[in-house]
């Protein structure tokens, strides 16, 4: 860290850590969800616009926090595990309420719209309320960390952290193996079920792997494919990137694409988030609750 240029973020990080180290006095005000969020917001920096996706989504921010969890997506299953583990505050990377609106929204163009009396929405809200949970979405401000935890977290889960080619990039040079064996390793390390799909030659030799958790655009693929043996992405559009990967295969190039599912690709980055939270919030425990692979495949 550059001494004269202590950023607002790192300054807050230091002061946050100092504050966290203090033992709360008996009778002092309990740490609330809002206190934790404020500490996190100061540590990460940024503007936190109310129109953006990040912020409180459910529950009462004034609730005293007994435990914190991070997750790629606050599914009902994740929330049940959170409640069972004594967690109060959940940080989720993806929406809780089935869309970018993260709550009831009027039906618009296309298949949108969630009514306030939707049975799944109501049951989820009821579960959150009756268990005293608080849910906060943390996406854009988590992504802005220069450490790029979504990428490094995924690399760590795959056992590839030490193979990073450049410290600020998502290219990894792993021990050579066939595409088939590399894909099998990804499936096993991430505990995937039906969500993994691969394109290209099974026998291609893989050494250079580009990790792209979340959504990969065609432009990224066109730019990076030539230097990559295997692209590992969360999700793509099949008539764009998958089509490109199929054509590359037909052209005889030994390069492949594997999509592992958006949420499955984001799970490891939120484990990194829990580890980081432990460094700024020391009064209560923080843990990672993986979503896992939501898909299965018929036999």
């Amino acid at each position: 860290m550059n001494e004269p240029e202590i950023s607002r973020r790192s300054f807050a990080l230091l002061t946050g850590a100092a504050a966290a180290a203090q033992v709360p006095l008996p009778g002092a005000n309990a740490l609330t969800a809002r206190d934790v969020a404020t500490r996190l917001q100061n540590a990460l920096g940024g503007d936190w616009p109310t129109t953006g996706p990040d912020g409180f989504k459910a529950g009462n921010p004034e609730t005293p926090v007994k435990g914190i969890a991070t997750t790629a997506m606050a599914t009902l299953d994740v929330l049940r595990r959170a409640a069972k583990a004594g967690v109060t505050l959940v940080f989720t990377y993806e929406p809780t309420f089935f869309g970018r609106q993260d709550g009831p929204a009027p039906a618009g163009r296309g298949p949108a719209g969630l009514t306030a009396d939707d049975p799944v929405y109501k049951a989820k809200q009821d579960f959150i309320a009756s268990n005293g949970l608080v849910v906060f979405r943390l996406r854009e401000h988590w992504q802005t960390r220069p450490q790029n935890d979504m990428v490094t977290g995924l690399a760590e889960s795959l056992g590839w952290a030490k193979y990073r080619v450049k410290p600020d990039d998502s290219l990894y040079e792993i021990p050579a193996a066939t595409a088939e064996d590399t894909v099998a390793l990804i499936r096993q390390k991430l505990n995937l079920r039906g969500g993994l799909r691969a394109v290209g030659d099974r026998k291609a030799r893989v050494r250079r792997v580009l990790l792209h958790p979340g959504v990969m655009t065609p432009a990224t693929m066109w730019q990076r494919y030539a230097e990559t043996d295997l692209l590992v992405a969360g999700e793509v559009r099949e008539w764009e990137n998958t089509h490109y990967a199929a054509d590359i295969h037909t052209a005889g190039e030994q390069r492949g694409l594997v999509t592992i599912g958006r949420v499955a690709s984001e799970d490891p980055g939120m484990r990194a988030c829990a580890e980081w939270l432990k460094t700024i919030v020391r009064e209560v425990p923080a843990q990672w609750l993986p979503v896992g692979d939501l898909y299965w495949r018929a036999v």
């Binding site: 869309g99 298949p111 394109v199 099949e238 008539w239 764009e240 998958t242 490109y244 958006r262 495949r297």
Partner: protein
């Protein structure tokens, strides 16, 4: 007959006003005034499919999706791309023509992409289906059995399911390709090709996973774009044969691109 004349006949017979503003339904490659020896219909004009069409003597490809790996077929960032050069040169060298029909297929009555997709998964009664999805009732079965039937009928290796395989289902809602419908109160199973997994207009994956956690009989099947939307391109070819009689028209399916 030239490529342009083929397209003019389609425009005349399509039954809806032609929207000249559509950036999708245009010539993508080749000379529209070349003579057409044979027509191939397909969902995805992959390089592999192009080669098979050419080998079969079909020099005009009518595809539902894009040629250059982005929806608008924007090529300004691709001029130095070796794959772009290879695909383009192959089409030009073999005097092939590529034309896309997407938007107008989805406003046709029926919409062949929906008709074909319903038929391919064994759901009856969709012969007059249009883009706007509606519920089809099948004899009650479990979601797992239904998914196995879909796998058997479509031959798909890589389609994905969410929901409880033991749930009893009978109400099916289907949209082809990227037009996966949102789950509704009435539907038990939603079938689509692909869709954004999260953070979209309506996140089916999370909704169906949560509904299943609550014990509700809800299931989601994503077939993959090619498997989902391709069958209707055979119907398109059959329809074209009613007004183009002197040129061979063949359905040349694209391969499912995935292994697992």
């Amino acid at each position: 007959m030239t490529g342009r004349e083929v397209v003019d006949l389609i425009k005349k017979n399509v039954g809806v006003p032609w929207n000249e503003q559509s950036y999708r339904d245009t010539f993508k490659l080749g000379n529209p005034d070349s003579t057409v020896k044979g027509i191939a219909t397909t969902v995805m004009v992959t390089f592999d499919m192009l080669k098979r069409a050419n080998q079969a003597g079909l020099n005009m490809v009518i595809a539902h999706e894009d040629t250059f790996w982005n929806d608008r077929d924007e090529t300004k960032d691709l001029t130095a791309n070796p794959l772009y050069k290879l695909k383009t040169e192959y089409v030009l060298k073999n005097d092939m023509i590529v034309w896309r029909i997407h938007d107008h297929m989805h406003s046709m009555r029926p919409d062949f992409t929906v008709v074909g997709s319903l038929r391919s998964v064994g759901v009856k009664g969709g012969e007059d289906a249009v883009m706007r999805p509606r519920i089809y009732t099948i004899p009650e079965t479990t979601f797992g059995e239904f998914a196995s039937q879909v796998k058997r009928l479509t031959g798909s290796r890589a389609f994905r399911c969410v929901g409880d395989p033991k749930a009893k289902v009978s109400k099916i809602l289907l949209g082809p390709g990227y037009a996966t419908p949102r789950m509704t109160a009435e539907a038990d199973v939603v079938i689509g090709g692909e869709q954004q997994e999260a953070d979209g207009a309506f996140d089916n994956v999370e909704y169906v996973a949560d509904a299943a956690s609550l014990g509700m009989a809800k299931g989601l099947i994503m077939l993959g774009h090619v498997i989902s939307e391709q069958p209707g391109m055979e119907d398109l070819g059959n329809w074209m044969r009613t007004f183009i009689k002197d040129i061979p028209i063949q359905y040349v399916p694209a391969e499912e691109p995935f292994w697992t």
